[in-house]
Symmetry: C2
Subunit: 212 residues, 2 copies
DNA sequence: TATTTAATTAAACGTATGATTAAATAAACC
DNA sequence: GGTTTATTTAATCATACGTTTAATTAAATA
């Protein structure tokens, strides 16, 4: 039990000054796992080993913390997908896009729940950022890609691009969130190569499902 | 402003004695739209036009109300799917199953959000009922159907049944919850025939995606 | 060195929540 | 008709929540 840093006042300069980042990280984990309403700012502060008042000092409010965390967590995904999309236009672009999408979700376990909770949060608190900065950008990327693939004859032309985008997002995002349930129901043992096999399965279902 | 029924005491026999059902209906709508934590028992009682204490009288607790509502809402879906599954074994069984699944979700708008909120509620309050009574039964039905179709050569044999079931659930459930977001992002206008067209689209993506 | 600014703590505030209780009233039963 | 039981209301309880404030300390600045 170290008793350092128990008194008020500005901390010595030796410290990491990483309080803000600790809060963001703690908030990411807790909000993803339990949802906005179930997480108290005291719980976040405790997980971050920080005084609860620091949340208001750095983020103004609980909602401010949540919004900052969501933007910091989800924005990079859109950016990377955009890069892959503008990288190439060959026959493997769709496959690359899909693989990067699912691999990123698999490597950042807090992403899928955060996305799903926002999607289901109809009329919720910060719907604005999620829709305008995440969903519409991601949806734009997706439909552009799909139409490009349709023009190239790799996706059948009679498929509605918006519906196709929805199908792709469904196949890619939902299973990650459902995995804990599926483990109990199907007894899936998540071994090392499981993620790879699952991505390959999903990729094939989608690509074959929308092919001409 | 009618002032009837404002005094305590057992109500006259003329009344409907439907308090319990009113509470279940109000709870279904509110919990589906806002989630468990965001809904107060006072809000449920107000929506049901009933005294808040009635929740504890009939259901013991907020959680009791939630569990009763969830069971009453989701159990019929599993039952109906089971009937369809055991009805026939011909080439249209899979298509019938899929259509009934999506059509039921579309006709009962509170179902998809309730399911999704349970799926994402890792370590949540009543995970027990959802997993043991809903997810495992539904998962059992699904894998049985998929393996039957594989034996009949209508689903490719190298597809993992559990993964295939996950893909099917993803394609069928997620889009309903994402529809409000998709409307804003894609400008989808939900016309009369939209649901039919969307179900047809999804059905084709899945069937074609898992075909040999 | 003296003063101001930044970062942190502990304590408190007002409110909303889930839950409980006592009283009240009509139905059900004997 | 008298007693018991079922259903409802209003009031209250304790707690947890988001937020605010005042005090405190070290860094930054001059």
């Amino acid at each position: 039990m170290e008793t350092i840093k128990k008194q008020p006042g500005r901390p010595p300069a030796g410290g990491d000054q990483a309080v803000r980042q600790q809060l963001l990280t703690a908030a990411r984990g807790l909000f993803a796992k339990q949802g906005y309403d179930a997480v108290s700012i005291r719980a976040v502060a405790e997980a971050a080993r920080v005084n609860p008042a620091m949340i208001h000092y750095y983020f103004g409010s609980k909602q401010g913390l949540y919004e900052a965390m969501l933007a910091a967590t989800l924005a990079p995904l859109i950016e990377r997908l955009g890069q892959v999309l503008s990288a190439g236009d060959d026959a493997s672009a769709l496959r690359n896009f899909f693989a990067l999408y699912m691999r990123t979700l698999g490597a950042n376990p807090w992403m899928p729940p955060l996305i799903l909770r926002e999607v289901v949060a109809e009329g919720g608190r910060l719907r604005a950022w999620f829709i305008q900065q995440f969903a519409s950008k991601g949806g734009g990327l997706l439909t552009r890609l799909i139409q490009r693939e349709q023009a190239a004859g790799r996706i059948r032309a009679d498929a509605d691009p918006s519906m196709t985008a929805l199908s792709m997002v469904s196949l890619a995002v939902f299973p990650f969130v459902a995995m804990p349930v599926a483990s109990e129901v199907f007894g899936m043992r998540v071994k090392d190569d499981y993620l790879d096999r699952f991505i390959a399965h999903t990729e094939r279902v989608f690509l074959q499902g929308v092919s001409p």
